[in-house]
Subunit: 547 residues, 2 copies
Amino acid sequence: MKLLIVGGVAGGASAAARARRLSEDAEIVMLERGPDVSFANCGLPYYVGGEIAKREKLLVTTPERLRARFRIDVRTRSSVEAIDRRAKTVRVRNLATGAEYDESYDKLILAPGAAPIRPPLPGLELPGIFTLRNLEDVDRIKAAVDRGPGRAVVIGAGFIGLELVENFVRRGVPTTVVELQDQVLPPLDKEMTTPIVAALREKGVEVLLGQSAEAFEAGPEGIVVRLKSGESRTGGLVILGVGVRPENKLAVEAGLAVGPRGGIRVNAQMQTEDPDVYAVGDAVEVRDFMLGEPTQVPLAGPANRQGRIAADHIFGRQAAYRGTQATAVVGVFHLTAAATGASEKALRRANRPYRKIYVHPANHAGYYPGAEGMTLKVLFDPASGKLLGAQAVGGGGVDKRIDVLAVAIQAGLTVYALEEMELAYAPQYGSAKDPVNMAGFVAGGLLRGDHPQIDLEAVLGASEAERSFLLDVRGADEFAAGHIPGAVNIPVDDLRERLSEVPRDRKLAVYCQVGQRGYLATRILLQRGFDAANIGGGYKTYLLHRG
Amino acid sequence: MKLLIVGGVAGGASAAARARRLSEDAEIVMLERGPDVSFANCGLPYYVGGEIAKREKLLVTTPERLRARFRIDVRTRSSVEAIDRRAKTVRVRNLATGAEYDESYDKLILAPGAAPIRPPLPGLELPGIFTLRNLEDVDRIKAAVDRGPGRAVVIGAGFIGLELVENFVRRGVPTTVVELQDQVLPPLDKEMTTPIVAALREKGVEVLLGQSAEAFEAGPEGIVVRLKSGESRTGGLVILGVGVRPENKLAVEAGLAVGPRGGIRVNAQMQTEDPDVYAVGDAVEVRDFMLGEPTQVPLAGPANRQGRIAADHIFGRQAAYRGTQATAVVGVFHLTAAATGASEKALRRANRPYRKIYVHPANHAGYYPGAEGMTLKVLFDPASGKLLGAQAVGGGGVDKRIDVLAVAIQAGLTVYALEEMELAYAPQYGSAKDPVNMAGFVAGGLLRGDHPQIDLEAVLGASEAERSFLLDVRGADEFAAGHIPGAVNIPVDDLRERLSEVPRDRKLAVYCQVGQRGYLATRILLQRGFDAANIGGGYKTYLLHRG
């Protein structure tokens, strides 16, 4: 068995190591275009910021290690130019010497990754405009920061874009981030990103949403970034972080199918149409685990798993890729944002029925010092209660709750299972009723009918005639400090005595700060014959939506 | 409907709030013997240490709040002395006035909790000997610490015992902890507690294992604690932390069944034999979720859930308690120890077949600063791979992995599902291959036969004749720094060239530092016809077992 692997980072490196473990006799050749294999993509922004101080830390493994330990024939600076599927060979170009040669294979694994998109804008070739993919890129960006670029302009507020923004700020570089969409972190629902935008602005970052770059020009003080609005920003450093595109050229030229967004088509064993050619990682189209649709999600964990599965299948093991949940997390200053499964907008796009709830708990017992707040949003099927997706933003413990919900989604659990979860509680770590339990209680109450809830959008979007009576059940001081326009205030503790002030001929939309008093008030009103529903997540959710 | 609730802390308070949400018309009376309701049991040790600075922080809610918001008739300092099930009344004694009266009920919920065990030892009544259950106890203990007790002696190294030890050390009190068993934290398997003992000793705590107190005597420098060994320790403060006993007196005297360990017997709806009498929390016997056996686990999360379920059932909702997983976590200085599901010793006691694996990963990407190590042990069914239990000890992220595994256990997942988990990865939070994935790979490889593993106990416990050839595949420097006695060193990178040095007529037990190189070496040897197995978790696991 001769196995060729094109690409030596996440998916390719995992496939190579797994292949060797399964077969001592296989000949395994790894062809990598760059000078490095298996480097820490996800660490690159932190090397710019100095959090990761030493460049060698970014090298997860080396060609030497792969040779010595795994007897992989690692060839760096080796670009695969073409595949001859009939002859079962690839054309390799040695980038150091320019020499070309053919290399044969029994099985071929394509793990070429995805390349940062470079939108075809005037001035794109100016020095100081970078994308971030590998160590050579990060060296250039770091050098630009070291020189003192005046200002950095980051085009694109995705995960990598914001990680770079944070690290530029850490280095004292004034930074502007420009995002085409009306929110940062586009995989998340917009309201969940409100705290992230606030944190960026608090740190002095200029955040321009619904804005795009139209052209780049050389100016005396650096690159002038012309924006669609007509404005411009000038800086010595521009990052293009507008997404990635699967490296599918080899596959396409070899006649292999790709999806509408360019991902190489594979089956659950990571095989392309050609059973001798596999593809893994950021270059492939995957199945969305929740929606069942083809999608593309460049993530390290799935890439590694896919590499393993391809090797397993080649060497006769049972293995199947179950699809991608798109579990992701990002740190932005003191905040963490994370998600798993389908977002609300994805569900809406897919025309899938869903309900949603918000809770705003602390990450651990409030009586223990250092508790930090979070907002947790859970999406679920209105009929079965099956979990569809979750997002969280806040301080500590956000990653933990999203991991817990990622497992629940993997297992096909419902919101009712969240109520019954027995999670680890001591006051430094959680609460006797964990945020995930709380989410389960709220969602379960909604589905059982004990806790009717109305989405904020439905309240605010209703016509004048159909608008619910807005009842704010917080304390008078909280109400005075800010409330939803049009609301009337009756604190929950007084509600039973003041029911005569509540209209019986209108729908009532009740709210408090986070939803808990609103829940009790809703229960009181329902039992007294009112037509009441609670605004899920209360005033805090309103503030997130208002932005 | 008139509902009486005996006990106003976790389970009782949850039942009361839930009952009110379900019924505005019910009359709800809460009878609490102490002066407080719903206080933060789990925070008490941290108030002693000063981490929680203000006493009022420990009051989760107050009688006034329960009255105003939930219209609960809260009566503190009210001890229920007897239940007349035929008359459906309880006898209440007002501890402030001594007056007694009968209170009728339609439904009764018993949530009396569990009392610290006071072993019948001579001198037990001496001043300075305390148990810790409520705010009055913690006031006394804190006062003793404030006075400067010279030395504290903590009898019992369970969760609360060690939390107190940590807080005494924080207050500068020299501390001895005495534990009857040969390990601390008895719910965990012994080897998993080795790092905790090391951390305690590092902080100057004297840890006496396999030791017990026999008597207490008044001495000039404080209480003299006479130990079984004949030694003694003297200190101004002695804590009895040897466990709790269900408060079952009321139930027993009312003719209700209790289990062999004293827990009140209830069905899944938390009903005792008497359908009008429910019992919840630390006083009840629960079903062990993994083993199916009756057990007793005093934990706040389950108590809250049970209170909710009892109220649900009383007010006509479907609800059932699924049993207790015994998910628990404790912080001891910089370390965290946590567990969920069955321990190895519980499985052995129950005569249940199991296999186990150990991994020793970092909590997040090693290339990002601040990564901390952990040991994760996973127990599973050898036939199906179904998860049976998990334990972890280490720095950051231990609680997260145990929560992830708690959900997996709840969902009935197998070790194969761990391989496929898609958990949130960015370098500050995790790894592309999360510790839980790693555990899945190791366990899956074991069950599939690709990665035969041998438990350390089997290697070290074998007779001379049957002992495996011990092959250490770490580097020569690592071997020189310490190895399992009798091992021969061939680094994995050299193994392929040095196969002639490996015996073909003996079983081979291979190991490295954590198991990963040992896995590769085992794969090489198996494919070359050797009879090899990897020692799961490698030398690090050996060190944990050695203690």
